[in-house]
Each structure stands twice: as C-alpha cells, then as structure tokens.
C-alpha cells in the first residue's frame, strides 16, 4: 500500500480512535528519513479531544499539550505552539475553527498537511490532523 493509500485508510477508519493516529504520528517521511519528533496538541476545553490525546500520548510516549481555545484562536498562540514544535510532526485534535486556524498558520510557514479527518463524537465535531512542520 502506498503512502497516500495508507492515509486514505486512516481517514476512512470510522470512529476517531487512537491507534490510526498513533500510526500516523509515527509514519516516516516518504522515501526515507527517521521518525519525526511528534508534538500532540489537544483542545483543553474539549474532553473528547483530551481523551483521544491521552490515549495517543501513552502510545507515543509524548505528553499532550492542552491548549485553550483562546490560544488556538490567536495568531500569537498558534505561532508559539509551532515554534515550540520546531521541525517535526504536529498531531492536533480540536474543533473545526481551531484546526483551520492552526493549519492555515502552519501552511503560511511552509508546513505540509499530512492529513485531516472530520469526525463527530456524540454531538461534538472534531478535527484530527497531522502536519509536518
């Protein structure tokens, strides 16, 4: 399975589970290179996002960063998170608005979007994404 096929599989994988994201977070750069350092960002106000991040953190061995909606909704806040991530992979679990802002600011800095998925957990819409910074 090529890389894009794999990502499509992840994206279509049903409920937002920890395992596919963990696999994604560890995915190598296409064609080689080592495993990237991962930063895991979850929206602090969303218990569903925090629960997913918590599951992921165990598998990835990284502590999730709980970022508030004010931080995720501001240019300065997202920029600071991206600075902290350095060059690596950021996996985010947050609401639609925060995810869009995060991705757009990251894109303006040259980051590549590896994937994003839209899911509903109960009545909450969540976006899970991975970007290479």
């Amino acid at each position: 399975m090529d890389r894009r096929g794999f990502l499509k599989g992840v994206a279509g994988g049903g409920a937002l589970g920890a395992m596919p994201l963990a696999a994604l977070a560890q995915l190598d750069e296409a064609g080689g290179g080592g495993v990237r350092a991962v930063m895991l960002v979850a929206q602090a106000e969303l218990p569903q996002a925090l629960a997913i991040a918590s599951g992921l953190s165990t598998e990835l061995g990284v502590r999730p960063v709980a970022a508030g909606v004010r931080e995720l909704g501001s240019f300065a806040g997202v920029t600071a998170l991206l600075e902290r991530a350095g060059r690596g992979r950021v996996v985010g679990v947050m609401d639609d608005a925060s995810a869009l802002i995060f991705q757009q600011i990251a894109a303006a800095r040259g980051a590549g979007l590896v994937m994003d998925t839209y899911r509903r957990v109960e009545a909450t819409s969540l976006v899970a994404f991975a970007i290479n910074t």
Binding site: R4, I101, Y118
Partner: protein, 515 residues
C-alpha cells in the same frame, strides 16, 4: 528527475512538465518549486462542495521578486502552462489557495513580504503581496505610528494585496479596500512591468497619493481578473482618531432589518457613521459567542425559528446586531452619539457600548476589527455545523430596507429547502450592501456536499433572475457567476485577455475569464 505531480496542466505531458519544473527551479531555487503531494497539500485544502480533484494543482512556485516573476512568465509562455497567482492564499470560503482549474501551477507570492514604505505624514503604505495584516499591524506598533488600516475578518493571516485584488471589504471608514488603494505594480504576461496611476512616470513621488494619473485608469482591470500579477500596492492608512466609540445595537425581530436599514442609510451616506456598518444575524453571532448548534437543535434540516429565538434569549443576542463606530474627537463623538441614541430609541434597538461588551467574544472581535486590529474571531463560524464545509454567497443589494428583507427571505427559504441555516450579515457600503451568507455544511457528508452545491446554484440563479449579482464568488462557481453578468461584458473581458495574455497563462478561468 521525474515529476511526481498527478494533476498535470491541460495538454502538457509528464516529460514536458518535468522540463517546466527544471526551468522554474533554475530561476527560484529547488526548494521553491514544490511537486511533492504532501508539500502541496496545504494549497489543496478547499471548503467548497466540489471534489478536491477539481482544484488540484500540479506544482507551486514561490518567487521572491519581480525579476523572478518575469522569468517565470517566460517559462509559462514557452510551454503554455497556466499559473495561478496567490498572495497569502487565505481567501477561505472563496476557494482558498487552490487554483481555479485543475493542473494550474500556483504562483505563491508569500516570499514577497516586504513593507516597502510607510509614510506617516501622508498616511500611506506600499506593500508586497505576501505582507499580512498582522505583519503590517506589528510594523505600525513597533514604529509607534498612530495609523490604522482596514482589514477583513481573517485578518491576522490574510493580506492587503490579495484582499484588495479580490475587492474585499473591511470594517473601518476605509472599509472599501479597492477604493482606498492607490497605485499598483503589475507584471504582465509578457513580462512587462506596469505601474498604474502616477507610478507610470519615472521619478514620480505621487504614486501613493494620486490614484488617477493621466488617461484611462487601469487599476480596476487588475482586480477580480487575470490580466497580470500584482506585485506592489499602495494603500491609504487612517490616522488613529483621538476618540473611537464602537457600539452595537441589537434588534429583537428578523423583520426589523427594514427599519434598521432605513434609519442607518442616511447616517452612513452623510458619514455621521463613517465606517462600514455590519448588520449581523443571530446565527452569525451565535457561533462566535460561542453557542453550540447541537445544544439547540440536532434534527435534520435547518434550525427552526423557535430554536433561534431561544438562542437570542439565552445569550442576549439580537435577531439583528448592528456594529458601527464613531471616529473623531470627544466633542464630535459626543454630538453624534446623541444621534445614535435617538435612532436606537426610535427604532426599538438596544445599544451595547464597549464598556458593556467586556467578556463577550463576539462583540470584542467586532470592535477590534472596527479599529483595524487583526484577529481571528470570526473563525468561530466553522464550529456551527462542523465538517469543514463553507462557501460564501455574496449578493449586492441596495441599501433599502425592503430590498434587504426580500434578499434575506429569499436566501432563508432556499437554504432551508436544502437543510441549511441562514447565517448571514449585511455590510453597508455607502449606498449598497454586501449581503454575505456563509453556507455552512459538513464536507464529510456526501449528501450535504451535493445539497450545498445545488443550494448555491439555486441561490445564484434565483437571485440573478431578480437582478441581484454577486460582488465576489468562490472559484468553483466563477464561470456560473460570470455568466450572470451577460455576454457583452464577457466578450470584452475575453478580448482584453487575448490582448494582454494571448497564451492564456495567467489563471485562466479566474472570474470566468479565459481564452
């Protein structure tokens, strides 16, 4: 080298495309020509109800100056490959950074992000396309210059050149951005560099202060078009007023739009209220408050009026919420404030002042926008339905109450038919109103995708039948929107395109213009 691009420009073979990429890399450097799928993915992200593949790019090239763009044009002409220029690429809801047609190479101008000049006496700026509003704001703050600019809602990440070129609007007295631009530099398809207005004259120092020059004024041709690549733009900045008094007036009923517009129009035309007044519906305010739709309605279809009423009551939001400001001295604002109070009292509106707004996210971001302070508060809209779908439907109306009510009711009926909510606002120019509706839907739901497309299509054609045209449109509907303006205008546009870009290399299809 072998091209990894799967979306080649029309009529170009993989081998030819590889040559194009090689030649572009020789101009801008390897790292500034992208063909790898992952690296292109950020350009590819769209919110429109069409398949991603329809707007897939073949590559991106990121020049750092005019001379490089001229050389890029040569390559594009040689191989007849189309370039799709973007400045910061944040035209979210109108197509974002993705090209209008599949296979185009995105000409990304973000590296051209120099603030070339700010004249604090004449209150002007000259900027490149990659400059963001946030960057300009930071510059003015750092240099302690008491100057404001007008910016659109996604201002912290968008930029003045791209917004002006798409004829966007903002919320200060300088809110009609094209009107307050002054002088452009444009690279034409043949590589010539045109400076409009007084900029055409060597050694002129009036490029940013006098717009017209001599002979035909050409600036408008380079907005909402594909006749050249705008590489510099002059813009007017507003002196920070000694006293700024933003306010909101809330109205309880949807039908109040009629009296609101009738009461405000004279004040706007006479410039008692000098800024672009916004009249926002409950459902525009709710997501930015923030209110969760699911807390009020989880059924299929559009949210019922009763639920909207409940949101109004629970969160102290008007059916319509008028945002405006007074800009002047304390004395002039005191005098004008009495007029505002009288108008609100006579029309049944409730005034919310800046002091009373503390803690309200929806009001704070609006008040910041009215003084040109960039923020991202309006992105809250995307949480209303969730799922990453948004297209702006933006017809123009006269600033007359009956017209606005008619448009609102037409839109609400059509949106409801397809199961979507009316999330709209009116932005008052002087005599017109930009009626902006965010058609929000779940892009991961195939049925909603189809319905959103059909809904926009019906909105467009129903409004056109009534003589209502769009002021701006997303790239998926560019052709259809252009068609509503009739054949003669389109024929002239095509003839201009043939004269200026005979090989059709600059964004063919943008705003419906192509050979």
């Amino acid at each position: 080298m072998s091209s990894k691009s799967k979306a080649l420009p029309k009529g170009i073979s993989a081998a030819e495309f590889d040559k194009v990429v090689r030649e572009l890399r020789a101009i801008v450097g390897d790292e500034h020509v992208l063909v790898d799928e992952e690296k292109l993915s950020a350009y590819r992200k769209i919110m429109m109800p069409v398949p991603d593949a329809q707007h897939e790019l073949s590559a991106s090239v990121t020049p750092d100056g005019v001379e490089q763009i001229q050389r890029v044009m040569k390559v594009a002409n040689k191989y007849r490959v189309p370039l799709y220029p973007i400045s910061t690429g944040k035209n979210i809801g109108y197509g974002s950074a993705a090209p209008v047609q599949r296979g185009q190479i995105v000409l990304d101008l973000r590296r051209m992000n120099r603030i070339i000049e700010v004249d604090p006496e004449l209150c002007t700026a000259l900027v490149e396309p990659g400059v963001t509003y946030q960057q300009l704001y930071d510059y003015l703050q750092e240099h302690k210059l008491p100057l404001w600019f007008s910016c659109p809602a996604p201002s912290a990440i968008a930029g003045p050149v791209g917004n002006m070129v798409d004829r966007g609007v903002g919320y200060t007295p300088y809110g009609e951005h094209f009107m307050f631009s002054c002088g452009m530099e444009v690279v034409l398809a043949n590589g010539d560099v045109l400076r409009t207005g007084m900029g055409a004259m060597e050694n002129s120092n009036t490029w940013q202060v006098f717009k017209w020059g001599y002979g035909p004024t050409l600036d408008g041709m380079f907005t909402q078009s594909n006749y050249g690549v705008v590489t510099k733009m002059g813009m007017w900045l507003m002196p920070a007023p000694p006293d700024f008094r933003p306010f909101c007036i809330q109205y309880p009923d949807e039908a109040d739009i009629t009296k609101i517009v009738e009461a405000l129009r004279p004040l706007r035309i006479a410039m008692v209220i000098p800024n672009a007044v916004v009249i926002a519906h409950t459902l525009w305010e709710a997501p930015c408050t923030p209110v969760k739709r699911a807390d009020y309605f989880t059924g299929p279809g559009a949210i019922p009026d009763e639920a909207v009423k409940k949101i109004q009551a629970d969160h102290d939001i008007g059916a319509w919420n008028v945002y405006a400001g007074l800009y002047g001295t304390k004395e002039t604002n005191d005098a004008n404030w009495k007029i505002i109070e009288a108008v609100a009292a006579a029309t049944g509106g409730k005034i919310v002042t800046q002091e009373q707004s503390k803690g309200s996210q929806a009001l704070e971001y609006r008040f910041d926008l009215m003084k040109g302070k960039p923020n991202l508060g309006e992105f809250g809209l995307y949480n209303w339905r969730g799922g990453g779908g948004s297209i702006w439907f933006a017809p123009v109306s006269q600033a007359k109450g009956a017209e606005t009510l008619k448009q609102m009711q037409m839109a609400k009926t059509i949106l409801g038919k397809y199961g979507f909510d009316y999330v709209g606002e009116f932005i008052v120019g002087w005599r017109d109103m930009h009626h902006v509706i965010d058609l929000l839907y779940d892009r991961s739901d195939e049925t909603q995708m189809k319905n959103a497309y059909a809904c926009y299509d019906e909105l467009l054609h129903t409004f056109a039948k009534e003589g209502y045209g769009m002021y701006r449109a997303n790239t998926a509907f560019a052709e259809k929107v252009a068609a509503t303006y009739g054949p003669v205008k389109r024929d002239v546009e095509k003839r201009l395109k043939k004269a200026l870009d005979p090989n059709n290399i600059i964004a063919p299809g943008r705003c419906g213009i192509s050979l």
